[in-house]
Symmetry: C2
Subunit: 197 residues, 2 copies
Amino acid sequence: MNKDNIQENLVNKGRELIKEKGAEFLTARKLSEASGYSVGTIYNQFGNMDNFVLIQNYLTLDNLYNRLAQLRASGTAYQRLNLYTQEFIDFVLENKNLWFLVHNFHLHNNNRRFSKIYLRRVVQITQLVESAFKALFPDIPLPERILSLQVLWLSLFSLSAFLTTDTLDSFSKINKRSLCELLLNTYLAGMKVLEKL
Amino acid sequence: MNKDNIQENLVNKGRELIKEKGAEFLTARKLSEASGYSVGTIYNQFGNMDNFVLIQNYLTLDNLYNRLAQLRASGTAYQRLNLYTQEFIDFVLENKNLWFLVHNFHLHNNNRRFSKIYLRRVVQITQLVESAFKALFPDIPLPERILSLQVLWLSLFSLSAFLTTDTLDSFSKINKRSLCELLLNTYLAGMKVLEKL
DNA sequence: AATAAAAATGAACACTGTTCAATTTTTTTC
DNA sequence: GAAAAAAATTGAACAGTGTTCATTTTTATT
């Protein structure tokens, strides 16, 4: 194994583990065994396991951003917002375990350095959607538009946690896909009304 | 200590621990030390720690339901939905640690018995809001109304996770309270439009 | 080739949830 | 009330976490 790419090797192997066996399977010892590196090496490279997870989540958000960014020029603003949501749902369903980790992770040693680059990706995605918002609601002043956007994006984001588990199955027969779509369309319809007030 | 109320004593003591020191502090040994009962007794009473947490979450949902139920007869349907949301936010902010545990808990030994009584409380809260929905949107047929209601409630529910941590603080200057209120009002406005189509 | 610097290692520590033989307490029986 | 039986309580011990750091191995320098 290439000695110069320890970090990369570990990150890739860890990503495999999460995808195949679930987020719970990602432990220092199992990663060590699966990767061939010792536990100590993992800690030399990442400091602690929280940082490792943060990197994984950063990559996941990165992947999501790239997927959404491809739709940047497609359709009308309204269509684009629907496409974004579609693509978002697809991504989450295709990467359940990775997305589960994005949600269900709380730092033990809250590391500011990694938290910031992590956050930057979330902001980046927000900005992507904002351009569609701008075209769709030209009459709403910027500060309020940003607010509405953040509320919508955060709602969809937090709601998407339900897509990664079967928690909802016993609560409602609602289709997971239409769960997010209904939120988007009802919210957008509401914004259109409130815009004119 | 009253020997007949071991469960009650443990539950109460555990609730204190969560409230005061946070959900992470709730471990078998710390609960043992704080309550005066041995670790084994905790396991005799609850089988495992997951069940203990499920009971705590059940109680939390119970408390929330009782708070909301008091508003059952107040104001118009629209006002009531706003009051419900207000009260919901208040409850979450007053019980941050307990609510954090409701969200950030995933079963290790998925126990069906407790999961069901747990779920019943969630349904009960949904039914509470449904009566307000019925009065507000009489023209929407029942199945669709239920769907819209579930989407809204699940959105608010999942969004409320952000109220229990400071994750949002570095993302947006948005007020946590108005985060939920904006979602509610925009969504309701949207429903009013879609009802007439 | 000998020395110095850097990197990798894994046993050991403190913490989890959990179990279960041994002890203590309570109840039953006489 | 004492002895026997049943029930309840206990906490040391096990397997699993994250994490550390003296020791070993590898690499770089002289």
